[in-house]
Structure formats: structure tokens, C-alpha cells
Amino acid sequence: MTALQVGYETFGGSRRKAVTLICLMLSSSLAAAITVYVDSYSMHKWDELVEIGPVAMEIGGAGVEHIADGVAEIDGVTDIAIFAAAEGSVTAIGTGGQPITWSASVFRYDQTLMTHFGNVFVLNKGAFPSATDEIALSAEIAQETDIDIGDLVNYTRGEPGIGGSYVMTVVGLWEFSGNSGSFHYGWQIAMVTGSMLDPRTDDSYLWIDVDRSRVSAFNVQGSLDYLLQIEESIRELDPTYDPDRDTGSRYWVNDGLRSGITNYASWQQGKRVAQLFRAGGPILLVVLTLFLAVRHNMNERRYESNILISRGADENKVRNMVYKEIMILAALSTIVGLGLGALLSRVGVMSSDYFVFRWELFVNEPFLISIESLALSAVAGILVPFGAILAYDYVYRIRQTAEESTGKLAKLTRLLGFVKWDVLLVSLTGIALIAMLATGTALQLNPLLRFFSNMILSLAPFALFLGMASLFIKALRAGANRISNRMEGIFGSIPSSVGIRRIGRAASSAGPVAMVLVLTISLAWSSAVIGDSLPLTKMNQARFTFGGDIRFDLDALNSFADANATEFVQNCTLHEAYVAGAELSITERMLSTGYYDAADLVAMDPSDYLAVGYDYTGQPLNESPLSSMLMELETSPMGAIISQDIAEEYELSVGDSLRSYGTEGGNVSVFTFTIIGIYEALTNALLSDTSGNIWGYYGAGFGLRTVWVNRGYLSQFVNFTTESRNMYAMRVADSSNTTEVALDILEAAGYQSTDGDDSANNDYADVDSEVRSYIGTTDYTMDRAVDTMLTIATTLVIFGAISVYAAEGLNSRRREIALMRAMGAGKRLIVKTQATELLVLTLSSIMLLLVFAPLLIVTTGLSQQTSYIIYPIRFFFSVPYGTLSLVLGFFLVSVTLFVVAVSSLATRIQLSQSLNASWSEGGPMGGDG
């Protein structure tokens, strides 16, 4: 035709390339964002693990002192000194007045060692030994005694009882600086002058440092190779060393630097894999989009390639040409994607929670792209598109062979088509999921089953999604005509016939676009819900576990501070944040005489505790079903509230009596209670944290085998002070910080908290610090940060998908608009037609969203691991409606923008040009596939 169309085709080509580039960029930038984020985050770990002090390696072996010169000449070695140590023991008088002896390694104070590696030691007090009767002790030892400078200790050379004994004056107290002691095996307790070492056990070592500018987190493998090379060179200083003949070297190297780097690398690898695994959904999204992109490329080039083929070009050659172009674009996009990913990783670095940013971290936090990240992004950027091409090719070929041939394969494909994989996938995963959700905690009891069930929980939604996607596309294709007939009344006949039916016709691209939208929103929603729910879950579980906002272990406090319990409790009531408090005394009793089946009897004043505790759902007791039971326990002192499992095991119901047995000093005692209530789970207030450990007892379920009884009644038989664990649970004002309140009270009681490290202390527990320390864990922070990045990344996928959709239909859309306008349709009608299409597509996406999103959210929630303890409710869902509507709003705005863009297309369109071009779709070259 005219010269114009040639120009138009080139424009189309560049548009196609741009769209492809955008889609291809997604996979490399997603991979880069995650790995670069982990890299950058891991710099802290690098600092921690690789800062091993001034000594990089220690070399040992008989006669090692003679190779010092040789070692010094090895490339990379920057510093060297000889370090001598021998066995010895030190005896001193302990704080209790009794003598204590430490037998360990004693080493020589040496001036040259000090000039080279003096920084290894920190002198806390005094000086290093300079005379034969002087000794400097490790500060660790000094702490266990009251030894100070000028005191006398007994020093024995060699093994105790064999070597000579000397009375020495303590002249200094030292310790290793930072991590710098870790490279040397054994325990150093003292430093003496050279002649005082035991000559029989005397051993020399070489300490060396290496050029550390050659190790970096950027190139971990290179760093390791470099250090291994140095180690090997050292071993080779033994002339008999020959690894080929299996003769070892007499010199060994303890490479502290290398083990630090190895630890770093495995830590980093673990995090990387974990986060990439969490990104399963977004990866699926990217693959979907890439598939769309490849398909788009093939369709766009079909006209062109048909011409080439008709002129005699080989069909494979044409296809390869298309693929080659995609691969070149992929390589190009990898570079851009890496930059985008690196930028995105900064978003991760500065987010301290899901979409909670600390902007200063954007620049302040370290930044690292390691070689592995570069490689991984490159692989993702090139291999993933390649995979998409193969997938496309596969689908395309199967279709063709099925249509053309009548052979075995065709039969098989027809059979597969008959089986309807999507229906099968949806029903099977659906059944598996329902089964899993129904079994509930049973699966949770076995750690291995738990692992697999979590795996299924996190993968099943996506399998389900793929099946649903396929069904959805089929439904769109089949349903568009029907919908369009129905909608005539609402939208008018032209918008609904032309607009809606276009969806059906373009179903193979409209469907995936809808799927991308749905998946993206679902993922963002799910991340938002999880981010909101985890702290709530921790809070509710902590409240239940501790039996209140704060729980003090009165027994432990009594032994530490000299406070007495009554005084301490009074102290608590005086605090301004005090709302209510109750003493709980916990006694372990048997529920039958036959075998070991202990239960915890929790003795309480029911009306007191009613105002303090929480039930397993995190509800305050006075608002939970337990409140009436507690009220009854108040009035019937012999009553007992039992946990559900006890009722089931002994087939007990309300009104039955419950006997408990105990043996004290050979006498069997029996207490009898009347059951007045049965409840799912009851706290025993014994735990001081909610994380538990893998094989811990509460792996069987927390809140089970517990009986709540009236304190007044039980006190007749039990001496709480000597026979029970005694706890004080407290409720504080809503606005107050439980940690501050707890520390205030402890301080008032004269108790010294060991520098805020409360997780190690069992003497008190409080809800806020439990939640805070959970939120503060590396894994929590990393998960939320990666979720933030993934949400942003998947949002970009929306644009990728929409742009494919727009580009895909652009030609026919233009023609359609031009044609309608040539027939005299007004602009309003045209905009309405285009908007109707998007509206119906959006509405059907939203319908799908309402099915899929809850499913994804529930399964993601249930696969979260917040504790090794099994709680009756493993996850509390909290829905941040604001965030969810923000996400949905964002999506609707982007769709609206798309409509606006199309509308402006309707006005800008050049009628004469659009109508006279030869449209591949209407022309002889066939429609889209």
C-alpha cells in the first residue's frame, strides 16, 4: 500500500520491543531485589563474623617456630609472631572462702608478640607480667573470685600435681578483645613470663595476619580461595607434604578468618534461599507475564513471518529469529533489571515492617551487590525468559500436533484434554487443602508433618490458582457473549456487544491480565494481613501464656532480691499503671495413680484473676466464656475448671468429680474437686516466653493438662510456699508499656535487671517485650522487608501485564475505534464502549479476587511459624482494611488511567490512516491465536 505503513510497522516494532523489555526486566529485577537486599542486610553479619580481631590464622605443629620466615614470605601474609603456651593451673580463694583451681592453658608474655598483636588483649587493670613471680589473670577468672591486683595466687606448671608450684603476685587482669580469642583452641587463664612456662607441655604457635583488603563480601568465593591458597602454602612448607600421596603436612592452620567467612556465606545462602522461596507467588506472576510477552511477540511477528515463509523462508528459521530477538532483549533487560532491583533492595533495607519505612536507612545502611547476586540476576534474567519460550513452544507444538496428526501423541493429547487438567488440579488441591485445614493441630504435633503441611499450605494456593486461571479464561471466552447480552440494558447495546465481546475474543490475553491483577492484589493483601496479624498473634499468645500482661515469678524473685512475696505484691499494686493482680500457685499432681499423667493445678482467687488473665483467644477473662465459670469457682471452692483434653481423656463432664494424687515423702495424698467447667485450653502461667523449642514439652500443646482451682480450698492441703511454684500475674492500664511497668516495679523492689536482656531471665515475663523481641528478630524484619519489596515489584508486574494487553489489542482496537467513528459514532459512545470492556474485566477480576484472596490469606497465615509451642489458635488474623482498600484503590486507579489513555486514543486517532492500513487481523493473514 502506501509508504506510510512501513513507518507504522517500525513504530509497532519498537512498541513491541518496549513491552517485551518491560516484561523481561521483571524477572531479573525481582531476583536482584531479593539477593541484593539479603546482601546488603548481611553486611552486618559480615562485620560480626569476619571481625575476628588482629589474628587471621593460627599455625601449629611440631617445630612450627622454625618456619616463621617461610610463612612471612607467603603472598598475602602481612604480620607474624610466635606465641607460646603450656599447661598450667591457678589456685585462688573463691568468693565463698573456699579454694578454686583452674587448669587450662597458660601462655607466655612476650614483647614481640605484643608489638605485633597487642590488640588481641585488653588490659582491664594493672600491667602484664615482667618478672618470674608475676602473673596476669584472665578477667573471667577474677570475676569468680574477688582477686585484685596485688593478691597472691598459686601457680602450678604442667598438669596439677606434677609440675612445680609457685606463689605469684597478680599484676594485671586482661581479656581478649572482641571475638579475637576465638581462633585459639582451648582456654587461656593466665599470662606469665617465658621461663615460667612448663617446659614439658610447652608448645609454640604462629599467629599471622593477612592482607584483608583481599577478602570482601562482594567476592566470597574469591576470598575463600585466597585464604585457602595461603593455608596451602603454609602446609607446603613441610617438604614431605604431598596431598596426592596422602601424606599430610605436619603444620596445621586454624584459619579463623576463613571460618568466619564460611559462616557468613552459609548464613547468607540460607537467607537467600528462604526469601526466594517466599517469593513463589511473585515468581509465578513473572512467569505468567513472560509467557504473555513471548506470545505477544509471536503474534505480532506472525504477519511478518508469514510473508517471509511464503517467500520461502524456513519456519524454524523465522521462529528462531523471534527467539533470538527475545534473548537479546533479555540480556539487555538484565542490566536494567539489576539496576532496578538494586534500587528496590534499598526499599527493603529501609523498611522496618511491612510498608513502614525509616527513610534515613536508605543511605545509612550498607549496600552490597555480591558476585553471586550478579550471577543470580543474570541467570534469572536470561534463563527464566528462555524457560518461558520453551513453555510457549511446547504449548504451541502440542496444539499443532493435536490438530494435525492422528497418531499416538494426538490421542494422548486429546485424552489429556478430555481429563481437563484444570478441573483436576482445582479439585485435588482443593480437597488436600480442606483436609489439611480440617485436621488442624493434629498435623502440627509432628515436626516433620508440620514442615510438609506448611510446604503444602504455601504451595497449594498457587497450584489452585493456575487451575482457576485456566477455568477463568475458558469462562471468559464462553461467557463473554452471554454477559454481553445480559448487560445490554445496563451499558447500552453497542458498548456491551462490542466492548464486552472483545474480552471474550481477547480472552487469551485478557484472562492472564486478570489473573495477574488478581494474584498481585491477593499477594499484597496477604502480605498486609500477615504483617498486621503476626504481632497480634504474638500478643494474644503471650497474654495467654503469661496469664496476664505481666507475670512475675515470685519464687525466683525471692531468691534473687531479698524481697518477700507479700511486700513485692503490695509494691505492684502501688504502681500507677496497676489495674488488677492475682497470685497463682501451681502444683503438679497426678490425675490417676496408674501411670505418669501429671497435670498442673493452678490455684487462684477466681474473682481476682478474672480481672487479670486472658483466655486462649486473647480475650480478657471477664469478656470470655470463662468468666461465668470463674464466678462459679468463687462461690463453690471445691470446684475445678479443666482443660478439654483432660475431659476427653477421662471422659469427664461438668458435675463429675476429679481426683488428683500426689506423693510427698512417701504418703499419697488425694484431693477431690467437682468439675464446674471445661474449656478448650487454660494457662498454667509457667512459661516466660512464647517461642519454645523444637523438641520442647509444649510441642504437645500449650494450655492442655491444666486445672484451675480455688486457692482458698487448696491452701488447706498444700503449703504454697514450699510445694508450689508461685506467680503473680498483673493487668496494667491499656496505654502503658508492660516492659516499663515491670522494670519499674522490679527496680522499686531492689532487683537488678541484667542490662535489659530479659529473654534470658525467667523471673518475669511481659507481653510488650515478647512482641517487641519477636518483631525485632532478623527473620521477622527480613520477611516484612522482602514482602514490601515484592509488593512493589508485583505492582510493576501489573503495568507489564496491562501494557501487553494494551499493545496486544492496539491494532484491532484502533481499527475498531476508527471504523465506529467513520460510521458516525460519537466520542462518548466510543469511550463508553472501551470503558465497559475494562469495567467488565475488572468486575470479573474482583469476583475472582474475592474467592482467591481469602484462600491465599488463610493458607499463608496458617503456614506462618511463630512458635515451636502448639497453641490452640496458631494464628490470629487481623485485617487492616485501610491498607487493603489502598491496594485495591491503586489497582482501580491504574485501570482508570488505562481507560483514560484509550479514550485519548479515540480522539487522537487518524481516521483516514487507521482505516486504510492493511490489518493483519482482517486481512488474509489470519487473526490472533
Binding site: M820, P924, G927
Partner: protein, 234 residues
């Protein structure tokens, strides 16, 4: 040569395309008059400006200078809204590549101009049925374009061209740009005959651009173009 008796009156029209620095003078001072019910042909070598002229008459494009009158109204001075009305009420195109909407059935494609024109349902159905019968496609009414042959598609396009809201001061102007260019000779002849006859019986005015001298001969008038001007009328 202004004369209000003419349905179409093209007066000294030029159209210059500017592509970057280059400008192409596709039409240079073309004048032409067509009376109602007339059937004329335009011929000429490729690039001589036939399509450009047709687009100007069809209100798809505006001339650089000169005027185009339809029913005595100068459409080159109209705003977009009035132009839309002219296209809706008076003009129909039949393209070389049939240009049917792929999502609509044959019936719906023919119905579309009537829908746009706001014709009431019963009248619409009657007219569409009538036109489909005229082009011999009653049986194929529910088929979509990709289920029809090229000749059949072009018949649908002709039926669609004739589906115009009736009752206006003048009848429809059918502008056909190489309507048989993409068909084999026999089908092409058939289509040409259908186009000519139907336009005639329906009282429409027909302008056909063609490369086929025989087609040109059958028309009441034949204009020959070269380099943007009309060089011969017969």
C-alpha cells in the same frame, strides 16, 4: 462552479501531507461534482491521490485548501460534532479489506450503523433482514466474519454501507475504495454488480475507486487521476 443541485461538490481541493521535512502534494486543485443517485468510478495509477480524495469526501480527513460540499453544506468548515452527524447520516464506506468488526456477527455488523443512528428496534430488524436478503446472506446472519469467505464478508460490508437511517433529505453516499481488490476476478465481478445494483435500487450515490478498466466502463462517469489531479472525465 458552485451548484446547489449537486449532492457532492468538490471545489479546487488540495491536500498536502507533511512527514517531517518532506511534504507530499497528494491532491492539487481537484474539482468534481456528483449528482444524487449517480454511480461514478475513479481510476488512476497508484499514488495518484484516489484514496485521499475519497477520504475527503467521506469526512475522514480535511483538505489543505478548497471546499467539499455535501448537500450544499461545506463539511470542511464543520466542527467534529457536526462531522460525526454527517458521517452517521450520509456516508458509508466499503473498504478493500472488508473491515468488519470481528466480534460481531454478520447481522450485528449490518445493524451497527442503525444502532449508532438510534433507529428503533423493529425498524432496525426489518431493515437488516431486508439488506441481508438483498446480499443473499440471510442464512449466514449469525456467522462471525472469520467464518465467512472474503466475498461474503464484502457482501456484509455492502449491506452495512446501505444500512443508514432513512428519511433524511438525501440518500446515502457509498464510497468504495478498491472493494474488489482483495478478491478473485469472478467474485470481484459479482460483488461489483451487487454494489452497483443495490446502491441503485436503494437510491444511493456510489463512488468507486478501482484499477479495473471494465468496472470503470460500467459506471455512468469515469474520472481518471494522475499526480493529484483529474486528467480525464468520460
Amino acid at each position: 462552479m458552485l451548484n446547489d443541485d449537486y449532492l457532492i461538490s468538490v471545489d479546487n481541493v488540495s491536500r498536502i501531507y507533511r512527514v517531517g521535512e518532506v511534504s507530499v502534494e497528494a491532491l492539487r486543485g481537484v474539482s468534481l461534482d456528483v449528482t444524487e443517485g449517480e454511480a461514478i468510478a475513479i481510476m488512476g495509477p497508484s499514488g495518484s491521490g484516489k484514496t485521499t480524495l475519497l477520504n475527503l469526501i467521506g469526512a475522514l480527513d480535511r483538505p489543505t485548501s478548497g471546499s467539499v460540499r455535501i448537500d450544499g453544506m461545506d463539511i470542511t468548515k464543520m466542527d467534529e460534532k457536526d462531522l460525526t452527524a454527517v458521517r452517521r447520516d450520509k456516508i458509508s464506506f466499503v473498504f478493500q479489506f472488508f473491515n468488519l468488526l470481528p466480534v460481531l456477527s454478520a447481522y450485528e455488523n449490518v445493524e451497527l450503523p442503525l444502532l449508532i443512528g438510534g433507529i428503533e428496534e423493529n425498524a432496525r430488524k426489518e431493515r437488516v433482514d431486508h439488506l441481508l436478503e438483498l446480499v443473499g446472506l440471510t442464512e449466514r446472519a449469525e456467522h462471525r466474519p472469520d467464518e465467512l469467505s472474503g466475498g461474503e464478508q464484502q457482501r456484509v460490508a455492502i449491506a452495512r454501507a446501505l444500512a443508514k437511517p432513512k428519511g433524511q433529505a438525501s440518500s446515502v453516499i457509498v464510497l468504495a475504495d478498491e472493494p474488489t481488490g482483495d478478491l478473485d476476478t469472478r467474485t470481484g465481478e459479482e460483488i461489483m454488480q451487487v454494489l452497483r445494483e443495490l446502491t441503485h435500487t436503494e437510491g444511493g450515490t456510489l463512488i468507486v475507486v478501482t484499477h479495473d478498466p471494465e468496472v470503470g466502463q460500467q459506471m455512468e462517469k469515469l474520472y481518471t487521476m494522475r499526480d493529484g489531479t483529474i486528467v480525464n472525465v468520460s
